[in-house]
Symmetry: C2
Subunit: 350 residues, 2 copies
């Protein structure tokens, strides 16, 4: 009726997720003096009578972000909250409230949605979050969850992506790549199950990987730890799309370069053994796997003694002049330019 | 794999949208002293250093909330923003920021999404709103828009749903039922178009109805008007699901009854003529049509002189003791109990 068959047509995947957001929002002007930071960081920052309010939102779509054939609904609810809280912690803030909107097809029963909310409830309890609103509607197909998280941070403590400085140290929390491998294990079991529905998989050797995929935690503890250590990062981001993509965000926005040392990237033993089994390069998995929900941050060198030897924190590189570029220094001491090969929500993984 | 075929199964539509939200959120405890109001009003209310922050969110799903065969994407973007702002104005607040998340299938081109954002941009410009974030992802089918709006209001000015008092006057802004009839006209044209794609519909007689459906405005002007008139409503709600449903929300939550006078319900002449043409009862349309995005509020009787004769405001009834019930007083002076027959997003209209 109103469709113009002759209109220009550009495929969305040509721009990628970040390109698309930038393209669509470039004409929007910030008008309110309460808006300190709009699009472009882990969370938006609003100034409410001096206190900074953080706002972030994420959309999870069945068939794109999760597969209910191996993702229990309770875990999904938990994970959906974690994904959002992680963005608040990445601003060095404290998450306080969430809204949860869901669209569900009639294939879901009330009991199924209760399962989902049980997981959301568990996450709220564990992370001290108030559920303050939302919307519940039907969908023509599948399940969709949209969560907005709200947090607070003082003006002195807020940490952005675009403030890394030359010579700063690059630090990552926890270990990387496990969530991606957990997904590979679950996908493989799904294929096995299709062939033989009576198979009883032994997943003991993959327990950590599967837990990281199905029930990730967000690093509220790190925000507290940094406060206790009296370390304020110079820049911070959470790792949702893979280490490589997040380092590039920090470097591009801070106008700096970076040297990342392959040998320093923290890997769990299960990651190393699963990489051997799946014939995957563990560095590639850490760089591009995504869904780790660890924090990546930079600190000034003088803060190094404060974090040295902390089991939660690993120095994996340092910030350089922009002219040096963003590079991986391999174990063989080769220098390879980093490119974002993170998980792109607009080009569904096979 | 993890599905239990024997589990209990309750259909979601048995509870309805509000029953479902209440059911799912009843176990969630409010823990933060900054959370003044959680689930249960047009928007949540947070206390940020004394200033009240309002947060509200809505999810629009293709095939459930809109039909792209007659809803231009630019209008859809505009309307999606209005739906959310309306909830902020219903708290007597000022909307300041939004986040916009979209899920799109690969059937949409970049140019199509640009159209959508043009509408969002127009709404932001016209209502002085900052776009501060969002998420963009793919969907397996169709288009989905999730918007969260943020606003502010002083402690003195915030108006809830649950504070209407006996003898208060019930007031509505603008006129009702036009949006629903606009939808009926567009649905009819769609059927005509299916039969004869070359038909050129003359929609002049329905221009107001169609505009109310495709490009509704939210009543920011009323919040200002009430301030200018020095009237603070005792309770307020926006009309998204139909007058009947909204009156029941105010009465249930305020623990009062209400008498609504049929002859007072404001109707546009196009509503009256279209109701004749479609053989619909105009009162039923006003009560149950929905998507008006007008404001419904109660004021104390002593404020009546301040609003008397104002062309934007119509007194349509008064609040009674709870024991009297919630009733429509017909033109024939009959008393009929009001039941919510508003638009239920969980039972798709045919």
């Amino acid at each position: 009726m109103i469709e113009d068959k002759n209109q220009a047509r550009t495929n969305l995947s040509e721009l990628g997720e970040f390109g698309l957001i930038n393209h669509l929002t470039q004409n929007f002007k910030i008008q309110h003096k309460t808006t300190i930071k709009g699009v472009g960081d882990d969370a938006a920052v609003l100034d409410m009578n001096g206190l900074k309010t953080l706002v972030t939102t994420d959309l999870l779509v069945e068939g794109v972000h999760f597969d209910l054939s191996y993702m229990p609904l309770k875990h999904l609810g938990y994970k959906a909250v974690m994904v959002n809280l992680s963005d608040v912690y990445a601003m060095n803030g404290n998450a306080t409230q969430i809204t949860v909107s869901i669209a569900v097809s009639n294939r879901f029963s009330l009991e199924a949605i209760e399962e989902l909310y049980d997981g959301i409830h568990l996450a709220c309890k564990g992370y001290d979050i108030d559920l303050i609103g939302g919307d519940t509607t039907s969908s023509t197909t599948g399940l969709l969850i949209s969560i907005t998280a709200i947090g607070e941070v003082t003006k002195e403590n807020v940490v952005y992506r675009n403030t890394a400085k030359e010579d700063d140290l690059l630090v990552v929390t926890g270990d990387l790549g496990a969530s991606y491998l957990g997904l590979q294990v679950l996908e493989r079991e799904k294929q096995v199950f299709k062939v033989n529905p009576n198979s009883q998989p032994d997943l003991t050797n993959y327990s950590y990987l599967i837990e990281r995929q199905l029930k990730p935690e967000s690093r509220k503890d790190i925000v507290k730890l940094l406060k206790d250590l009296e370390v304020k990062p110079t820049a911070m981001i959470d790792i949702s799309d893979g280490l490589s993509s997040e380092i590039l965000h920090i470097c591009t926005q801070s106008n700096v370069g970076c040297s990342l040392y392959e040998e320093k990237i923290p890997l769990d033993p299960q990651v190393i053994s699963a990489c051997e089994e799946f014939e995957l390069n563990s560095t590639t998995v850490a760089l591009s796997g995504g869904e780790d929900y660890e924090l990546l941050f930079t600190i000034s060198q003088e803060d190094f003694p404060k974090i040295k030897g902390n089991p939660h924190l690993t120095v994996i590189g340092h910030i350089t002049n922009k002219s040096k570029g963003v590079n991986l220094i391999t174990r063989a001491n080769q220098q390879i330019e980093l490119t974002a090969q993170g998980w792109n929500a607009l080009t569904k993984k096979d």
